[in-house]
Symmetry: C2
Subunit: 332 residues, 2 copies
């Protein structure tokens, strides 16, 4: 049932029916109610794409994330979706699988009016942001993995403080040789977490040992090799701070394999949103990010940009606090 058929059924012009459906003042009350009754009877619904063209609004936003099968991005998307649903918006999901080329092609795809705004968390491999600078005219919000140098609203957690606190927590529990397992050096979150780690060492007069900073940017297999090598050294670290959960789980597996006891031989702390952290063997000390709230907050700011077209939000930086939850993996 399209507009033309509906108009035929009513013996009215398309333009009259269209105006009646939009509640135009040009149309009388009797005609309006006749049109609405017939539209209901015939289950006529406005074509969303015709409506988008007319209004130049798609009522759709895009979320671009490295992955969705993940304890962090899952709840973030859930938070975004809850806000979008409240506003009557639709949510498109694009996964980059940590691949900068995919990120570039997704962004290109979104430049032609398909969406009213974009929320993005960068891929690990994203080394430059030229493709994002092309989006100048588009409402755009970055979250968690944000570009340092681009002017746009950004929602992050307190990565520097969290890195500092995680490291101090290990030091207070007796660690003296603390390794830091980082992901991509391109990502500001990784840099900030490491800077917090370095600052905590400095404050506690522990000399920085670059060989304890391990960049785990390869495949799972390669990362596991690096971690295994680290744990087999003569001067093995007595504490490990992993910047993402998957690296901490690798540490657990490799420790089991090498018959190293956590926390006796090595203590472990990591960023994690896993619901099972408290049930692991031993229970895992985590820095937990407010993932759902990050999603909601990012969406709320995006809708402000979309709905008010206010560009003085452009430099807004929102920092939400993470929580350090001490469990057995770091026990003194």
């Amino acid at each position: 049932m399209n507009l033309k058929q509906l108009a035929n059924e009513l013996n009215l012009s398309i333009s009259t029916v269209s105006k009646a459906l939009r509640d135009s003042h040009e149309i009388g009350a009797t005609t309006k109610s006749a049109v609405l009754a017939k539209a209901k009877e015939l289950n006529y619904q406005v074509n969303p794409y015709a409506s988008s063209l007319r209004k130049q609004k798609s009522k759709t936003i895009a979320v671009v994330v490295p992955e969705v099968a993940n304890d962090f991005f899952g709840p973030v998307i859930s938070g975004i979706e809850s806000v979008a649903q409240e506003r009557g918006y639709h949510v498109l999901i694009y996964l980059t699988h940590e691949d900068m080329q995919k990120e570039i092609s997704v962004i290109r795809l979104l430049q032609n009016g398909r969406v009213d705004g974009i929320m993005i968390s960068l891929s690990e491999e994203t080394t430059n942001t030229a493709h994002l600078e092309e989006l100048k005219e588009m409402p755009l919000v970055f979250f968690d993995r944000v570009p340092e140098k681009l002017d746009a609203p950004k929602i992050t957690t307190d990565d520097y403080n969290s890195g500092f606190n995680a490291t101090e927590h290990l030091i207070r529990n007796g660690c003296k040789r603390i390794a830091f397992l980082s992901i991509s050096q391109n990502l500001s979150i990784s840099q900030k977490r490491m800077n917090g780690y370095l600052e905590a060492l400095k404050k506690n007069k522990i000399i920085r040992d670059s060989s304890l900073i391990v960049s785990c940017t390869g495949t799972e297999e390669k990362n596991n090799d690096l971690i295994r090598k680290l744990l087999r050294r003569k001067k093995r670290p007595d504490g490990i701070f992993a910047s993402v959960e998957k690296l901490a789980l690798s540490v657990y597996e490799i420790c089991a394999d090498l018959k190293l006891k956590i926390p006796r031989d090595v203590k472990v702390i990591c960023f994690s949103n896993s619901q099972t952290a408290s049930l692991l063997n031993p229970s895992l000390t985590t820095i937990t990010q407010p993932a759902y709230e990050i999603g909601r907050e990012a969406a709320i700011i995006l809708f402000r940009l979309i709905e008010k077209s206010r560009h003085h939000f452009l430099l807004e930086q929102t920092i939400l606090n993470s929580e350090l939850i001490a469990r057995n993996s770091t026990k003194a």
Copy 2:
């Protein structure tokens, strides 16, 4: 830059430019290449909604799931997205949060041409499927939580066999009083898993005890109360088969609280896609569904329906196998 502006720049009619961009045989090669060169120079892109209206295709599919922050639906969506990306399709995500009213309103929203096809996994609360029957004209694929009585392609795992095998596994490891923790009785997956459980009891000459079948359909708090009551009984179960992971994790927590040892006092098995199952204390025996493959398979069938408009797939039922991974939580 819209079509009109591009035509002005070229001193051509809108219709000529539009035909040239669509590579129409009515337009000569010289004009075509001039149009394409100018379009590229001015970064002109076809408006996707104008294009959708013309072609009556949105190049968009919808995925309707109970939640996304979940070890099962996360990888399913990843599988769907990988197929959609290969075909140049966009993916809209809608979450029902296990609420039938939300499911109904999402389905209503999708009837007016916004998407070319829908993939859906039912909410726990969905007791009737009238809203789904309204979608008769729409390419539609159900996965995992499928309606029993609706004729549409369905992708599931071997829920009955998995339920049977899980229960036999507990029996073989010495269990005699096996409890089954079910989710919604409305869902066919829950019914089938329970039927497998009942059949395994029967085959092994264990008398069915209805008080050991616990329907965990309430809030987390209420479910925990039911599980706590179950584990505090004089004749406590010696084995628990949980139909979803969150219930098994509750069992772990409540056992710790009641000082019951898994697997000595009670053995635990459950459906789970968690990456941490092997690291839990004790490691958790799971039935693992091929979640990513379910997503891919469901998407492939949906695209067959969309692209070929072939309706003899309507009754297709695809059943993928799950895998029982024995770990310490069920050790004899």
